[in-house]
Subunit: 385 residues, 2 copies
Amino acid sequence: MSVTAPQGFEAAGVAAGLKSTGRPDVAVVVNRGPRKVGAAVFTSNRAKANPILWSQQVIADRIVEAIVLNSGGANCFTGSFGFQTSHLTAEKAAELLEVSAGDILVCSTGLIGTGDEVFRGKVLDGVERGIASLSADGGQVAAEAIMTTDTVSKTAVVARDGWTIGAMAKGAGMLAPGLATMLVVITTDADLEASEADAALRRATSVSFDRLDSDGCMSTNDQVTLLVSGASGIRPDLDDFDAALAELCLELARKLQGDAEGASHDITIEVVNAATEVDAVEVGRSVARNNLFKAAIFGNDPNWGRVLAAIGTTRAEFDPYAVDVTMNGIRVCSDGGPDRPREEVDLTPRATHLLIDLKAGSATATILTNDLTHDYVHENSAYAS
Amino acid sequence: MSVTAPQGFEAAGVAAGLKSTGRPDVAVVVNRGPRKVGAAVFTSNRAKANPILWSQQVIADRIVEAIVLNSGGANCFTGSFGFQTSHLTAEKAAELLEVSAGDILVCSTGLIGTGDEVFRGKVLDGVERGIASLSADGGQVAAEAIMTTDTVSKTAVVARDGWTIGAMAKGAGMLAPGLATMLVVITTDADLEASEADAALRRATSVSFDRLDSDGCMSTNDQVTLLVSGASGIRPDLDDFDAALAELCLELARKLQGDAEGASHDITIEVVNAATEVDAVEVGRSVARNNLFKAAIFGNDPNWGRVLAAIGTTRAEFDPYAVDVTMNGIRVCSDGGPDRPREEVDLTPRATHLLIDLKAGSATATILTNDLTHDYVHENSAYAS
């Protein structure tokens, strides 16, 4: 059901010719209210795509009527012509929906540098046909229209007493909020104030999408958006809403991880007993971004030396000669030295668990990543050609 | 001629059975004086191997009689037993050379976690046989004894008026001072004070090995050592010595880059018009470490969007919409937008030049890196098994 699971939303996905395959490539999600609240988090990359520059302006007043997304072109580094395209996309949607262009978010994904006249024409055509085909059942086709190298569409729904959160996501590489790129649209019919929606979205993304680091590369186009219709008429307990939203975001993050380009292992890096949560995240990321560790996991090699070498590059509080490392339940390193024989570790399952005990405090963080494989290199060396 | 090209040095390389291939795996370089000056720079990784912990103590008084190096085992994360092995290695060499163990540097390279009783026995045996076979012609076999996954031994010699600098290096991955690992021994018969040798080494490495970033991974075992015999009796002009040492280090850095594991392109990233040199280095490194850019180069794809996306993750002063990017002489991006068609760029040569013009100042830096290839993944997934 995707983004149309909650009441108050309509969606559509149409094929506008941006994808050479002829598959759907323009999605539209419209909030029918009564509330028109929007919240969004954007890539922290300083090189931001034109739709990000546009959407940052739109979100300022936290009022959003609709969001238009396209695959098949990132409209990034396409100059002022590209920015104008994002603007025209919003204007076209606003005109057809009879709302203000300043309340229309725009997202694009695909190859950087793509955004010429032909691209513009197809996107505007897609907006027109998308709005003409909006429906309360449009969530699934909308989710398909934002896929690029994704092998499956990603959606999630969490239902509570009288209110629902629905979502669609795309992303299969350059995952690290954010790059090739992560786009997420979340909808809810719970009745939230704008400030409540914004706070809840930031909390949920900080412990889900922000902790997914597939290849250490940060997108120019990433955007996670929450749209609130309030159509259920129910004000949720805010802690309940926080928990539900975090659960939904983590489910989507795991789906993105599971579909990461070329990956053969989904690696959960759990860092425990860190001095601070910041330390735990830094340590987890340092391992998640270490090509040697990631290549070793691809080779089913429990190379804990590369884990310690990665941790050693961080500023986290720890003593290298106190650290324990456990892989898939086998403690291969204790106090910075060899423990169980590496042969005991079974790395053949796709799900891989790495536990790092820093023995420096009581803070914890979990980072999700993937291995570095031949298929990753293949997909990313052949992507643009 | 390697490390025995300058006067006052003897070297040896012997097969002690650490390598399963039966090739030389223990090297010894001895300074016969009259000066016994040593300078060294070590990995900045906080997880340091036992030989690094030992050598940092030895170098404190800047007096070095000899250096012992082994391949076939990193003696890292091998506990207090491993530290004792480094200590015993120095003691064995000191006993045979009739000097103090506190003046013997020790370096190890190979798999992290390797350093048991068997390892220790073989290293000590190698020290004994190495010292028995020292000669003024031993530079080449010493260079061969420190190779791990290197496909060629790396040596360099720079000769000036009456004095000479010679060197051997190993490293073919985990290059970034420093990881599986970079070891360099430089010798000179120029007559230098200890402080002069130390300053010259730091200057030279900062613009050579420190700017080589093959895979972003930092070794636990890296060490670059300069030994000064003063045997030529000639005090060089210090600027001349600096220049000669920098030239030699850059030559070795390029040889390491050229032999990086699995690489098919040697990429020179030249960052110009940065606000500061620190900015230029940070921008160069951000691109050197971007897997998506590196995979694109492997695929002969001039994907400048990935260059800008990498730069956007830095704190450097720049406007993404002012940056120019030129690949192998073709400016594919100007002012953050498309310029020449990507089809004009020929990426088939191994030597690849990337020029990034930040237009934010007048500082410059050059970073050396490699592409991300199937062979890199293969070599690093199969290394330990």
